[in-house]
Amino acid sequence: MALLEIKNLHVSVGDREILKGINLSLNGGEVHAVMGPNGTGKSTLSNVIAGRAGYDVTQGEVLLDGKDVFAMAADERARAGIFLAFQYPVEIPGVSTSSFLKTAINAKRRAAGQKEIDAMEFLKLVKAKTKALGMADDMIKRPLNVGFSGGEKKRAEVLQMTLLEPRVAILDETDSGLDIDALKVVSDGVNALRREDRAFLVITHYQRLLDYIVPDHVHVLVNGRIAASGGKELALELEAEGYAKYQGAAA
């Protein structure tokens, strides 16, 4: 059984159909990259899997370990192991990054019947992970995402992913806004998390990311459909030739 199975997924916003029958199957240990022009539905796909309100699923299903994801509320999905690194992380004024992280970690622990993390253990853990991601020490004292630069926000997303150890991680353009060094650091962070029982769905516009995070599969999403799938070489081809060929075919 696949870890995450997306079957014939149709999604509309209002009268407009955005996803028009997506099929994707992510096995444990795999990294899938999704590429595609602006506005073709990549973030929509991520949001629908994560449970954001405002989308109508008109057909199809998404299964996590064979279980219907749409029967779960957004927080249940998260606790079941679905993680979304947001394309546009939200600012939460007044809430320090560290208390946010702690609350999230404890929510997961409670659901798993574990006791809450103790303050020392938490600090040690966070310190180690922020360091590995090249984040400043005082970052976690600041309100979450408030005044963070674009790159800092993305690192904070990866920090959260690292701490929450999801089963399926969706990275929605986590590479955009990162400088060259940061791209490497963040990719290392992702690679360190690759495991037999974990899958990644990596959305990106740039093939360069895939030099660092080497995908098992690459999919081209155009106009709400997967227009082509292939191996890593597909990303190189897209970089060279653009989406013109698929846009014609998919229309």
Binding site: D75, T103, A107
Partner: protein, 483 residues
Amino acid sequence: MAVTRETAATVRDIEQYKYGFVTDIESDMAPKGLNEDTIRFISAKKNEPDWMLESRLKAYRHWLTLADEEPTWAKLHYPKINYQDSYYYAAPKQAKLASLDEVDPKLLETYKKLGIPLLEQQMLAGVAVDAVFDSVSVATTYKKKLQEMGVIFSPISEAVHKHPDLVKKYLGSVVPYTDNFFATLNAAVFTDGSFVYIPKGLRCPMELSTYFRINEKNTGQFERTLIIADEGSYVSYLEGCTAPQRDENQLHAAVVELIALDDAEIKYSTVQNWFPGDADGKGGIYNFVTKRAACRGRNSKVMWTQVETGSAITWKYPSCILQGDNSSGEFYSVAITNNHQQADTGTKMIHLGKNTRSKIISKGISAGHADNTYRGLVRIGAKADGARNYTQCDSLLIGSTCGAHTVPYIETRNPTARTEHEATTSKISEDQLFYCMQRGMTQEEAVSLIVNGFCKEVLQTLPMEFAVEAQKLVGISLEGSVG
């Protein structure tokens, strides 16, 4: 499925106000209604000296002339209160206790349920508790230790007997009986409350704490608190309040007076969790409270912190009269209104002395159909050279059916004074909630986290043990506020 959900919602409603139980205890009550006999009854019950009875009657007679002066300027809506339809005195039947061992076990059980550390062995280290149950003070803990240091911490009814000079000198000196409708009523019928005197030069080493609870049906609670910090002394005082869940509204009209002499400092913290009424706005406490501090001495300082989560209606403006040169007043407030609760609360900072400073940090949170108003006055007198005020009022809205209002009044009669006012209004967005939930938090945890972040600055000023409680309370009082 729908039925299950309904049941779950009902259970949650019941659990939500966990202080909503009634203690089955026999009470000694005054006849219903208010007249001179009621006042004589109260005074006789307390075995008061004549001067005290006279002062009550004077207040009562004045109150009768105020029939048309019940304040209406606040942004609050409630049916006219029938003052004859309430009991003004209710005491658990069993008075005069020599030690804690004599306290009715049922009462102790109640306090245990409330989480009040009444019994010495169960007490948080360093907290002395004066517990007021309806109208009388039940037991004062740690009394002896405090006595040895010269601190007086006792029910005010006891202070009337034992320290008449102090009471005569200071009672009504900050909030005179003519002050306002509710204060006048209180001066006539107050039943108990705490009295604190901190002697010169002493930093009171423990938090002093009072717990108020309204238990009887249809009783009003009119407590009176008087705190005097003599020269160079310091005290931190905490007040907590709960009441059982009742369908009818109950009146609470307290008066608190603080006096800080030269170089003295008083920190007064309140966690107010009176029953707020049910989700449809039925029942709940009417909280009409006059709290005022006089910073009489040079360099004196008073700091009010309030966390107001309960009551159907809150009408409350803890204030500072900054008389002494270099004296300072601070007001930190969190007011949460959910469902049909209404709060009109804020402060008055009256600058009279030179170089007086005041700081106001107000955080109003409104959810459901609630209304939340900050009302504040900063007045700078002609002689207050170099006076400074900083005011920050932030409002947070949850949902789109609630209201938040900020009404700041600034009056300056001295050109050297400086005042600053900042105000913001924000909303918890769907995106923020989704972001938190995507990290595994329930919606309620998310709301609690965001709101606690919003009022952190105020909660941080609470004594440590209570800050944690207050954080939880913030979450609990907003349960069910989204979706």
